[in-house]
Symmetry: C2
Subunit: 259 residues, 2 copies
């Protein structure tokens, strides 16, 4: 026991904790987290890391597990290694080994206790809607095509109702096992740029499918399929069956994680 502890402590002394900021187009991937028989971001990243460092290297965690088809402008991951490789060289090496739709945008060495998931204080997601009768193969990339007219004033009213601290069970995927479903939405904005609608939402944490369920419900509100009173009731009821549809993954991008 004693010897093992000493060995572990020497081993830990040499270990570096390395934080990566990843950008990826999620279209081709079965989400972030490793899955049997599916291509995931974690898999291509760990393959590249292991090859570059010439030893099996696993990441410790990611700030959050993006779903199938979801993008990231700055997904944060960290891993431990005893390898002495220079950081610039490591970044260049990884970018040379990763597929074109994944890139290491930044790299830095962080204190041993840094954990990309547990240390995260909040995350910001962007959701894009191409709101035009005709789809746009170029300008509507990474967005959900909604061909109907939307009442943005009502959507913004709905966003105010949802902002702040609430039990978001009604907006959590029905099969999620999470117990504590209280989260705080700190910031929720909607901008229109021509036919493009862009939501930004910051919270201390997100439940499974939460952003997509919020956006799907807000779009229904904007199409007058819902009333504001109905939204308030659904939020209070804590029942997923009472809220709107799940917006598609392709419009969603993780854009910031704060520590």
């Amino acid at each position: 026991m004693g010897l093992q502890c000493v060995a572990l402590s020497i081993w830990s002394e040499n270990m570096r904790n390395i934080k990566l900021i990843l950008e990826y187009d999620g279209a081709r991937y079965f989400g972030f987290q490793r899955q049997p028989r599916q291509v995931t971001i974690q898999e291509v990243l760990e393959k590249a890391l292991s090859r570059l460092l010439n030893r099996v290297t696993k990441i410790q965690s990611a700030s959050g597990r993006t779903d199938t088809g979801v993008h990231a402008l700055c997904q944060v991951v960290n891993f431990k290694t005893a390898h002495a490789m220079d950081l610039k060289k490591m970044q260049r090496g990884l970018n040379g080994l990763l597929p074109r739709d994944v890139a290491v945008r930044q790299i830095e060495e962080v204190p041993r206790e840094f954990h990309s998931r547990y240390s995260a204080r909040s995350k910001v997601y962007e959701y894009r809607i191409w709101n035009d009768p005709v789809r746009s193969p170029l300008k509507g990339k990474q967005s959900w095509h909604v061909p109907y007219a939307l009442n943005l004033r009502r959507i913004r009213q709905g966003m105010r109702t949802l902002s702040g601290k609430h039990d978001f069970r009604s907006f959590c995927a029905a099969h999620s096992a999470v117990k504590d479903t209280v989260r705080t939405i700190r910031f929720f904005s909607l901008e229109r740029m021509g036919s493009l609608l862009v939501f930004h939402i910051e919270a201390d944490g997100f439940l499974y499918h939460m952003v997509r369920n919020l956006v799907g419900t807000l779009v229904d509100l904007g199409r007058d399929r819902w009333t504001l009173e109905g939204l308030k009731q659904a939020l209070r009821a804590c029942d997923r069956k009472l809220t709107g549809p799940t917006a598609p993954a392709e419009g969603l991008t993780l854009i910031r994680v704060t520590y």
Copy 2:
């Protein structure tokens, strides 16, 4: 003979000339023009048209033939049909039949003599460069990744040298059979938005690979691999061998055609 002419004239009376504005992501296509054993924009469009109108329908022309991998925000094509289908219905029908990376953005009926290629007075292309040491899977879409620092002041000097009426033979693909290689660049601009560099170039016409050869040469100028004097000499020499490399297709988008 006489009868045939009468028949032809009656036939023409009923023919409508229809102009489409197409948007497409060229990544998956072997250019605009039909090619044996390759998927092209023209092929998917004519297939959709023929299926919708229930008779073989060919387009008369496109404003220009974009190359393999080149995008369009507004490619103009026209076709003749005797079909009486309402235009809105035709647009919706085509968008339902076309692949997701091609869309009919606008549709209108035009005078019989309108020809999307011969009637065009000028075209505007956009060329995007992601100028950053690290590639960007999301923000660097539809752009050429140039990881080196570029001297934009020198590039702009080069653009002024190239603007106006010149014999652009030095910037025309060597195997092109075109005789008259004199063209007028009416407008040539460069904007930087963070790491993104965006060129806009308008001319009365473009030679084969002309925009990509101009951009490839300007990037070499910006990397100090060329002098401004060298560029002037190369332009005067009318010899493709004296100019810089061809920039990749993925950064190029046809953005406007004026009639």
